[in-house]
C-alpha cells in the first residue's frame, strides 16, 4: 500500500516539476512527509485533524475511535462513507485538487475538510 502511494506521489512529482519552478520545493517537502498525515481520527465527536492538507492522489483514511457510530460525508456529494461503528475505517482517494468540506451526517456539528493541492 505504502509503495503504491509512493508511486503515485512520484508520478505527481514528475508532472509538478514540469510546470512551475517555485512550487517545486514545497511539493518535494510535502511528498517527503510521512504517511500519517493521511489519517483522520474520529475521537470525542470530532475529526482530527479537522483540516488536512494533502497532495493530489493521496488516499485519506478515517478511523472511528468513539463508542458511537459516525459517518464521513462530503458536503458537496463527492464521497460518502457507510456508517462506521467503533474502529471501522473509510478511505477515499483524492484525485483532483480542491477543498473538500465534509461532516458526520449523524452528528452534523462534526465538520472537517481536506485540502488537496
Amino acid at each position: 500500500m505504502r509503495r503504491s502511494v509512493f508511486a503515485v506521489l512520484t508520478a505527481a512529482l514528475v508532472i509538478g516539476m514540469g510546470t512551475i519552478g517555485t512550487g517545486q520545493k514545497n511539493f518535494v517537502a510535502r511528498a517527503q512527509q510521512k504517511p500519517e498525515t493521511t489519517e483522520v481520527k474520529i475521537d470525542n465527536f470530532s475529526f482530527g485533524p479537522a483540516t488536512l492538507t494533502v497532495p493530489v492522489g493521496t488516499s485519506v483514511t478515517w478511523t472511528n475511535r468513539d463508542d458511537i457510530p459516525h459517518t464521513v460525508v462530503s458536503t458537496e456529494g463527492v464521497f460518502k462513507s457507510k456508517v462506521l461503528d467503533t474502529d471501522e475505517k473509510f478511505s477515499f482517494t483524492f484525485s483532483k485538487a480542491g477543498t473538500y468540506p465534509y461532516f458526520c451526517s449523524i452528528h452534523p456539528k462534526m465538520t472537517g475538510k481536506v485540502i488537496v493541492q
Binding site: F45, D66, D67, P69, T75, V83, I106, P108
Partner: protein
C-alpha cells in the same frame, strides 16, 4: 397536610403558572422522579415519594401514557453491555405502574445501527408491555444507510413525508415530528419546510383549548447547540402552537431528564433506557457516560404522562429503573 401545601406553588408573579422557586424545585426532582401537574393554569409540583398522598384523579388523570426513549439496541460498549436487559427493566417498570398506561411513545434511537435484528429485538421486548400500542418517531440512529426506508416500512404506516403524523386521544391532540432527516453540515436537528407546512395545516382546525402533545427525537428547544442539542427551525413549529393553552413537548436524544417551561409550553426530555450522557458542557463530548454498574439503573428511566380531561392538566413523571 402542611407539607403538601409547602410543595405547591403559591406565588405566581407572571401569571404564567410557574414561580421560580417552584420551577427550580421541579427541575431538582427531575431524574429522581417528579410529578408536575398543570391544573387550572397553575403548575404544581410534587416529589414522587408523595404520590400516595394525591387523590387518584390528581395523580393519574383520565389519559395515561408512557414515554420511552433511546433504547439503542445493539449498543454493547462498557457504558452498558446489556441494553436489552435495561429495556426489559423499563418494561417491568411500566407494567408495575398503578394505572396501566393506554399506550407508549418511543421518541427514537430504537436501534443503535439500524440493523433489522436490533429493531426485531426491541419489538419483541416491547410485546411484553401491558400497553399494546406504541407510537414511534425516529432518532438519527434509526435511519442509517437507507435514509429511513426500513424505519418507515416498520413503524411509519399512515404517516406523512419522512414519518410525521398526528392522532387524537380523549380530547388531546398528539403530534409526532421527525427532526433527524436531511441534517446539514454544522447544523442542528431540522424539521424542514414540508413538515412545517403540514403542521400548520394539522393544527388549524383545532380549538385553542385542545391540549397538545408534541413528540420528536431531538429537543425542540435549545438545550446545548454546541453539541447539536436543539432544532434549527423549532421556533417556527412552536409558532403554530402559540394559540393553544397547553402544549407539552416530549423529546429524547440527550439521555437525561430536563425540563423547561416557557409560556404555555412545557418542554421535557426523557432518560434513555440504554446509557446516560453527560450534562451539557460537562465533558469533552456527548459520548456515552460510564457510571459504576450498580448505579446504572439510577440514570436510566421512563417517563409517565397523565392528562386530566377538562382541567388542562398534563402531569409528567420521570422514574428511574433503579
Amino acid at each position: 397536610m402542611a407539607d403538601r401545601v409547602k410543595d405547591e406553588i403559591l406565588h405566581d408573579h407572571n401569571d404564567d403558572g410557574i414561580d421560580r422557586r417552584g420551577f427550580l424545585k421541579c427541575m431538582a426532582w427531575a431524574g429522581t422522579g417528579a410529578l408536575c401537574v398543570m391544573s387550572g393554569g397553575v403548575l404544581k409540583s410534587y416529589s414522587l415519594s408523595r404520590l400516595p398522598d394525591l387523590s387518584p384523579k390528581e395523580a393519574l388523570g383520565e389519559l395515561s401514557f408512557v414515554q420511552i426513549s433511546d433504547s439503542h439496541m445493539g449498543f454493547n460498549k462498557p457504558a452498558n453491555p446489556d441494553v436489552a436487559g435495561t429495556l426489559k427493566a423499563a418494561v417491568d417498570k411500566i407494567n408495575g405502574l398503578s394505572a396501566a398506561p393506554e399506550f407508549m411513545l418511543h421518541t427514537g434511537d430504537i436501534s443503535h445501527l439500524s440493523k433489522p435484528e436490533e429493531f426485531d429485538t426491541v419489538d419483541q421486548i416491547l410485546k411484553s408491555a401491558k400497553p399494546k400500542d406504541v407510537f414511534y418517531v425516529p432518532g438519527e440512529h434509526d435511519l442509517l444507510n437507507d435514509d429511513g426506508k426500513q424505519f418507515l416500512e416498520r413503524y411509519g404506516k399512515g404517516s406523512k413525508g419522512g414519518g410525521w403524523y398526528s392522532f387524537d386521544k380523549k380530547g388531546a391532540h398528539f403530534i409526532g415530528l421527525v427532526n433527524v432527516m436531511n441534517l446539514k453540515a454544522g447544523g442542528l436537528g431540522t424539521l424542514g419546510h414540508e413538515q412545517l407546512e403540514w403542521l400548520e395545516d394539522d393544527v388549524k382546525r383545532l380549538k385553542h383549548s385542545t391540549p397538545i402533545v408534541v413528540f420528536a427525537h431531538i429537543p425542540l428547544w435549545s438545550v446545548y447547540p454546541e453539541w447539536g442539542w436543539g432544532t434549527e427551525d423549532s421556533a417556527e413549529a412552536l409558532g403554530y402552537l402559540k394559540k393553544f393553552g397547553s402544549v407539552t413537548v416530549l423529546n429524547g436524544h440527550i439521555h437525561q431528564t430536563m425540563q423547561k417551561v416557557e409560556g404555555n409550553v412545557t418542554f421535557h426530555t426523557a432518560a434513555s433506557t440504554a446509557f446516560p450522557q453527560p450534562q451539557p458542557g460537562k465533558a469533552d463530548s456527548p459520548g456515552p457516560m460510564k457510571v459504576p454498574a450498580e448505579q446504572l439503573k439510577s440514570v436510566l428511566g421512563i417517563t409517565d404522562v397523565n392528562y386530566v380531561q377538562g382541567q388542562h392538566a398534563l402531569a409528567v413523571v420521570d422514574s428511574t429503573l433503579a
